[in-house]
């Protein structure tokens, strides 16, 4: 009888230690997950910022200005246009 009691007592102590340990583990994992979620959000936001930056650099007004001024491009006048006709 005393043996059984001792055994059960040890079992109970082990179980409770296990509960504490797993609880701690769960909290650590949760904190890690939270960190990753924040990371995701930050990357998302950075992506958005980069998209806006891309749109700003590739804006039509800027491209037109660069093409005309730096690359000295101009629209072809009718005499310079060649039309290719597709032959069946």
């Amino acid at each position: 009888m005393a043996r059984l009691t001792g055994f059960l007592l040890a079992l109970a102590i082990l179980c409770s230690l296990g509960v504490v340990a797993s609880q701690h583990q769960a909290r650590k994992l949760y904190a890690a997950m939270e960190l990753e979620q924040q990371n995701t959000q930050q990357l998302d936001e950075e992506w958005g910022r980069l998209q806006i930056e891309q749109r700003t650099w590739a804006g039509h007004a800027r491209v037109e200005k660069l093409a005309r001024e730096r690359l000295l491009m101009k629209q072809p006048v009718p005499g310079q246009i060649l039309l290719l006709e597709e032959r069946p």
Binding site: A31, Q51, I52, G59, P78, L84
Partner: protein
């Protein structure tokens, strides 16, 4: 307890001999019973009846409900280019005056003595700290001082600053200065897209334009979750998710940002050249009814709305009406052909250039002689249009205008869209019927005009127009004219931009285009004033129309005011650019345009389109 009969030895002690009445012991017993009953009752009350409240109070010590923000959806153009998106920003706020009741070593002496147990933030900030904060926030020190010199618990110092700036502010480590995450809407297109997109308010809700029209789709629903926090405020456990956040859905508009930019720059230039008050350009895809561009002038920058005026904000294309003038004439001609009483070559006598109906006299700006129906359109004769119109029943004419969408809104869902004015046919007098035939006595918005020209671009039928991108062209169309009538009128429209027409300036090299000019005097206080609205609505390419472009310029005041002179060149620029952008092959080879017919020549080609 006391009991005479049983505890003989003790109770018979002579020292205790007294004749106490029985009720006294009973009374004490009763009191004790009542006491314990009260305890049991209280316990039951706390555990049973009041449990929920107490549990909640307990949870309040460690459970927090946190908001999980949802982002607003993006708006993109038809190619998926971002036109509007939300980016996180920081808002700097402060606690100008804080309760320091429990703080024992707080400098609780208030200088003004109003609330002795409240401490002011200003008294704990040094002058240098205030200065550096003011510089960072781009405010004067006085402004900052004023904001902090209030007896409130909360004050915004500056809303929506960049995360980088917020970090610098945080580095100052000032007491009582905090920051908060918010979202700010950013429009990379700036003033090019302003009227179409509209904008959102401080609360991130749509206030104008598509932001408002698609509010239910774009808006996200913020979620919330319950967490357990430890003493330091770290989240230790996610107790439950009460509501997961729902991010707003993205919206793809029908607009093509390249064509939009073309229209924007053409209109902007014309506004300067003609010293005009306002203007608008609409580009429609005739095949699908999608709006490819919608530009207004004057415009504004939606990213910086500090000095906005109502003039800038108005989306004239949809929310303002004007008298369309001669751009209505092709519909009159189409109805004339449809009734069978006229053919394109039927002669209408327009001499001597004036005509009296009742008490009113109408006239042509340039008197014409006898003109064919086609020439009435080409030369834009009011008399010719009026003579054709007077052969119609008012109900028939009204029915056509109603079918074309005049007098009612287009149901685009755009905020503030107006219906224009088209009176019931029963009230029409002959003079009204005559003036309506050339676009006076009714009012429309530019979008309705562009919409109505679908009948000529689409062989006599119309599809509903759309501001959002369609995956497939609409199947359902409404027929207004027969295909033959539409083709005949199309030919007349082409004559307008040819030599002898009212708008040779609207011609586009390489393409066959057609359209109609409009020059209307403006009604000011019930009378026509010497102020004009110049417009041009056209379609191209004539062989298989793909685009409809409608241009309107309000009060051009630099010498020219005719639709052909003012709106025609804008039309040509936008139409030409848009057709090339869409890769529509030219259908009118001009003489200088060389055609490489043989495959062997292909290698030699240097420029192609």
């Amino acid at each position: 307890m006391n009991n005479k009969h049983q505890n003989v030895t003790f109770n018979h002690n002579p020292l205790l001999r007294s004749d106490l009445p029985v009720w006294r012991s009973r009374f004490v017993l009763g009191c004790m019973l009542a006491g314990s009953l009260m305890l049991v009752g209280r316990a039951a009350y706390l555990q049973g009846v009041n449990e929920e409240f107490l549990q909640k109070k307990g949870a309040d010590r460690y459970v927090r409900v946190m908001d999980v923000p949802a982002t607003r959806g993006r708006i993109t153009d038809r190619q998926g280019e971002v036109l509007a998106m939300s980016t996180p920003v920081k808002t700097i706020w402060a606690i100008p005056e804080e309760d320091k009741d429990r703080d024992k070593d707080a400098k609780s002496k208030e200088k003004d003595g109003k609330t002795p147990n409240r401490v002011r933030l200003l008294s704990s900030l040094t002058k240098e700290q205030l200065n550096s904060l003011a510089t960072l926030l781009d405010m004067s020190v006085q402004d900052l001082y004023q904001k902090l010199d209030q007896g409130r618990d909360f004050v915004y110092l500056k809303r929506q600053v960049s995360p980088e700036l917020a970090e610098q502010v945080a580095k100052l480590k000032l007491p009582g200065i905090h920051e908060m995450r918010e979202y700010r809407r950013y429009y990379p297109g700036g003033d090019v897209m302003a009227h179409l997109l509209g904008f959102t308010g401080m609360d991130n809700k749509g206030q104008e334009g598509m932001e408002l029209a698609f509010e239910s789709q774009l808006a996200g629903k913020p979620g919330s979750r319950r967490v357990i926090k430890d003493r330091r405020g770290n989240v230790v456990e996610d107790a439950e998710s009460i509501r997961p956040p729902q991010d707003g859905r993205d919206v793809a508009l029908s607009v093509d940002s390249k064509i939009q930019y073309l229209a924007y720059s053409a209109l902007k230039q014309a506004m300067v050249d003609h010293k005009a008050k306002a203007g608008g350009v609409v580009v429609l895809d005739a095949k699908t009814g999608e709006v490819l561009a919608l530009v207004n002038s004057p415009t504004y920058n939606p990213n910086n709305r500090s000095n906005l005026t109502g003039e800038q904000l108005r989306n004239r294309i949809l929310t303002d009406t004007y008298e369309p003038g001669s751009t209505m004439k092709p519909f009159t001609a189409a109805l004339a052909l449809e009734t069978g009483k006229f053919s394109p070559s039927t002669i209408v006598n327009c001499a001597p250039g004036r005509m009296t109906i009742g008490t009113a006299t109408i006239s042509d700006a340039h008197p014409h002689g006898a003109l064919s129906v086609a020439q009435v359109i080409q030369k834009s004769s009011n008399i010719g249009a009026a003579k054709m119109a007077l052969t119609f029943q008012p109900e028939v004419m009204w029915k056509m205008l109603d079918d074309l969408g005049f007098g009612s809104t287009l149901k685009l869902g755009f905020p503030g869209e107006v219906s224009g004015r088209l009176r019931a046919p029963k009230t029409w007098k002959p003079i009204e019927q005559a003036t309506i035939s050339y676009g006076h006595g009714l009012s429309v918005n530019l979008m309705q005009m562009a919409n109505a020209y679908q009948v000529f671009a689409r062989d006599g039928d119309m599809v509903p127009i759309s501001l959002s991108r369609l995956d497939a062209p609409p199947i359902h169309s409404t027929r207004v004219f027969s295909p033959q009538t539409a083709r005949d009128v199309r030919q007349m429209l082409e004559m307008v931009v040819q030599p002898g027409g009212t708008a040779p300036q609207a011609n586009v090299p390489g393409y066959r285009v057609g359209g109609k000019t409009g020059t209307a005097m403006k009604l000011v206080g019930g009378h026509y004033a010497l102020k004009y609205v110049a417009s041009f609505v056209g379609i191209a390419p004539i062989s298989d129309p793909r685009l409809i472009v409608a241009v309107m310029v309000d009060e051009p005041s630099n010498g020219k005011h005719y639709g052909g002179d003012v709106a025609g060149p804008i039309f040509a620029q936008v139409m030409g650019g848009a057709l090339r952008t869409l890769g529509v092959s030219p259908d009118a080879p001009l003489k200088p345009l060389q055609v490489a017919r043989q495959l062997s020549q292909v290698q030699a080609v240097q420029e192609s389109m």
